[in-house]
Amino acid sequence: MAETATHTADHASEHGHETSTGLTNNKLAMWLFLGSECLLFGGLISTYMLYRGRVSDGPHPMAIFDIPFTSVSSFVLLMSSLTMVLAVSSAQRGDDSRTNLWLTITAVLGATFVGGQVYEFTAFIREGLGFSTSLFGSSFYTLTGFHGIHVSVGVLMLLSTVGIIRKNKITGNKAEVVELVGLYWHFVDVVWIIIFTLVYLIPS
C-alpha cells in the first residue's frame, strides 16, 4: 500500500504509474499546454482576422496567395499527421526501428512544409509584401511565422526523439514520449487547417 502510494506521488511523471485522473502527469500537462496554445493562436488569428483587409500599401491578400501551392504544402503537413499516428502505434508495439522510420518520415514531411513556407515568404516579399508594409503583412507573417516556428520546433523534437531512441537514452516511457510528441504534432497540424481555411480560403 505504502509503496504504491509512494510511487503514485513521486514517479507518475516519469513512469506512468496510476494517478488520480488516470491520465499520466506528462499527458495531462501536455493537454493543458495545448489548451493554452489554443488561446495563443486564438489571439494571433483574431489579430489577423481584424487586420486582413487593412492594406494601406502593398499587395492585397487575394492578389498574392498561391492557393494551389499552399494546398500542396498543407496536404504534406496533413500527411505527416498520418505518419505520426503510425510512429505512435509502432512505439506502442515496442518496434524501435519502425518508430524511428515513421518519426523520420514525419520530420521530413514537416521540414518540407517549413521549406514551402520559407519559399512562400520569399515569393511574397519579392511581390512587395514586407513585414512592415501593411497591417495585413505584419499580421500575416506573425501568424504563419508563429505556426512555422511551432512546426520547426516539432521537427526538432521528432529528430531528437529518433536520436535518443537510437542511443537508447530515453528517460521515461518510450511509447509515451512518442505519443506526447505526437500530440503536439497533431495540434500543430490542426491549427494549420484552421489557419489555412481562414487565411487562404475565405476571401477577405
Binding site: A2, E3, A5, T6, H7, T8, A9, D10, H11, A12, S13, E14, H15, T19, S20, T21, L23, T24, N25, L28, A29, L32, F33, G35, S36, E37, C38, L39, L40, G42, G43, L44, T47, L50, Y51, R54, S56, D57, F131, S132, S134, L135, G137, S138, S139, T142, F146, S160, I164, K169, I170, T171, G172
Partner: protein, 661 residues
Amino acid sequence: MAIIERPGTSTTPVVVTPQQTLGAVKRPVATKGWREWLFTVDHKKIGIMYGVVAMVFFIIGGVEALLIRLQLAMPDGQILSADKYNQMFTMHATTMVFLFAMPMAGAFANYFLPLQIGARDVAFPRINALSLWLLIIGGLVLNASWFLGGAADGGWFMYAPNSGPIFSPSHGVDFWVIGLQIAGVASLLGSINLIVTVLNMRAPGMSLMKMPVFTWMILVVQFLLVFSLPVITVALVLLMLQRSYGATFFDVSQGADPLLWQHLFWIFGHPEVYVLILPAFGIISEVLPTFARKPLFGYPFVVFSGASIGLVGFGVWAHHMFASGLGPVSVAVFSVATMAIAIPTGVKIFNWLLTMWGGKIWYTTAMNFAIGLVVLFTIGGLSGVTHSVAPSDTQQTDTYYIVAHFHYVLFGGMVFGLFSGFYYWWPKVFGKMLNEKLGAWNFWFMVIGMNMTFGPMHILGLQGQPRRMYVWTEARAGEGFFNLGFWNLVASIGSFILAVGVLFFLINVVITARSKQQAPLDPWDARTLEWLTTSPPKAHNFDRIPVVHHLDEFFHRKYEEDTATHTMKKVAEGEDLVRAEGDAADAHIHLPSPSYWPILLSIGVGLLGLGVVYGIPMMVIGFAITLFSAYGWVLEPSVAEEIDFEPSDNDGNTKEIAPLG
C-alpha cells in the same frame, strides 16, 4: 535528493534506465551553501526562494510607491520629474502585480499545495525550478531597465499607441515587454505544473471536495493563468514586433485599431485580478476556520463561488473600457456581467462571517490579518460595485477613486491575506513562531496606514483628481480645510505609516530568525494535512502518505464529536500524531534530484530575450545555451542513480543515502 531508505527493508531501488547525464556534466550534489539552493528541485526550497524574491520586489515596489506619495504630498511636487514619475508608477504596478503578488502567491502555492494534498513534491520538480529561475530572470530584465536608459513609462496597462516606438522612444518598454514575456512563461509552466499536481497527486481518499480551500483557490487561479497568459503573450509579442522589428500592429496611420491592445490586455488583465485575490481568499479560508475552531461555513459554496468568480472573470474584461468608446450595448452587457460577479464575491464574505458565527475565536496576528481582509475587502468590493455601474464609472475611471478601490481589494485584500499566511504558516516553514507582539504592531500600523493612504483617495477621486499625474495643482484642489491638498498630504503620511508597518514585519523576521525557541508542531490546533508532519517538513514531506477520510483531515484525527453535547473533544494531540507517522515511515522514498539545467536554461532564455534589444549575437548565444540546456534536461533522468552520489553510511535511523536536493 534521490532515495531515502529505511533500515532493514529491501534496498533494491526502482530501476531507472538511463545512466548518464549529457556530456561530462555530473549532477549537482551539494548539501550546503548556495549550491543547495541554486540547483534544488525541492518544492519547499523553491517556495521559500519564491517568497524571498517576492519580498525583495515588494520592498522595491514599496519604495517606488513612497516616492510617488512623496511627490504628490504637496502641489507641484519637485521630487520626481515627469519622466521619472511616469516610470515610477509604471514600475510600481508592474512590480507589485507580476513580481510581488503573483510570486508570493506562488511561494505559498509551491510550498503548501503538495503538503495540503499529501504529496511528496509537485508533478514536475525541475519545471518548478525552471519557473522560479525564469521569474527571477524576468524580474531582473524588467528592473535592469532602470540602469540602462530608463524604465518603461507607459503605465502597467501599456496602452497602444502610446507604448509604440515613437511615443516611448527609450528602451524601457522593450525591457518591460521582454521581462513580462519571460515571467509569463514562468507562470504558465508553474500553473500547468500545479494543476497536474492537484489533479493527479492527491493522497488516497482526498477527493476534490475534500481538498483544502487554499488548494482549491490555487487550482482555480492556475486555470485562469493557463487560459489568460497566452492572450497577454500575444499582445506582448505584437508590441515587441512593432517596437523592435517594424511591424505595424498599433500604427494608426496604417489603419490599426488601438483598441485591439486594450481588448487583449484586459482579457488577460481581468482574470489577472482574480489571480491576485483568490490565493488570499484561499489563505484566509484556512486561517478563519482554524482560529474560529469551526469548519468553513458552506465549503461547497465557497469552492463553487471561487470557480464561478474565475469563470465569470473571463467575461467582464471590458469594464476596464467603459470610457474607451465601446457601443452602448456592449457597455450595458459588461456592466451587468460585472455586477453579477459581485454575487459570488458576496457569498464568500458572508461565508467567512458565518464561519466565525458560533465559533470560539482566537485573535492571533494571522487571524487579525484575515479579519482585516474581510472588512477591507468588503469596502473595496462595495466601491467596486459603484463602478460596475457604467455611467458612474465614466466619472470615476482614471481617477483616484479607482486607485482607492483596487488598493482596498489588493492591499486590504490580497496583501493582508498574504500577511495572514506569513504568520499562520511561519512555524510550519521555519519551525519558529513569528513574534506575536511585533505582529500586533505590524498589523495595526498596516491597518491604520492602509486606511490613511487609500481611504482619502476615495474623496480625491470623486472630487476630480485624476490618476497618473506627476503633479496636481492647487487651482483644481478646491477650498476649505479638507481640500484635495489636505487629503493628498494625509495619504502621503499614511503611506509612511504603512511602510513602518511592513518594517515591523521585517524586524519580526530577523528577530525570529535569531531566536532559538522552536515552535510546537501544531501551534494553532490546525486542521489540514500540512500540519501532519514535522516543522519544517522533511525533504520527503510525509514519512507515510496519509489516507484521507475527511475534509480537515488533521482536525478530525485530533477531535471527535461528543454525540451528547455536539461539541468536539480532543482525542489525540497533534504532536503525537506527527510522531506516529514517523514511526510508520515508508520504505523506498524516491525524490527527484537536483539539476543544473533549470537555472542554466533560464539564463539562456534571458539572454535570448535581451537579444531583442542588444542584437543577434546575444540572441545566438542565448539560443545556444537554451538548446544545450534543453538537451541536457531531456537526457537527464529526474531521479538520479545512486552511483551519482556518495555511498550511504547506514547507521540506523531513516537514512538519506544521497544529499537532499
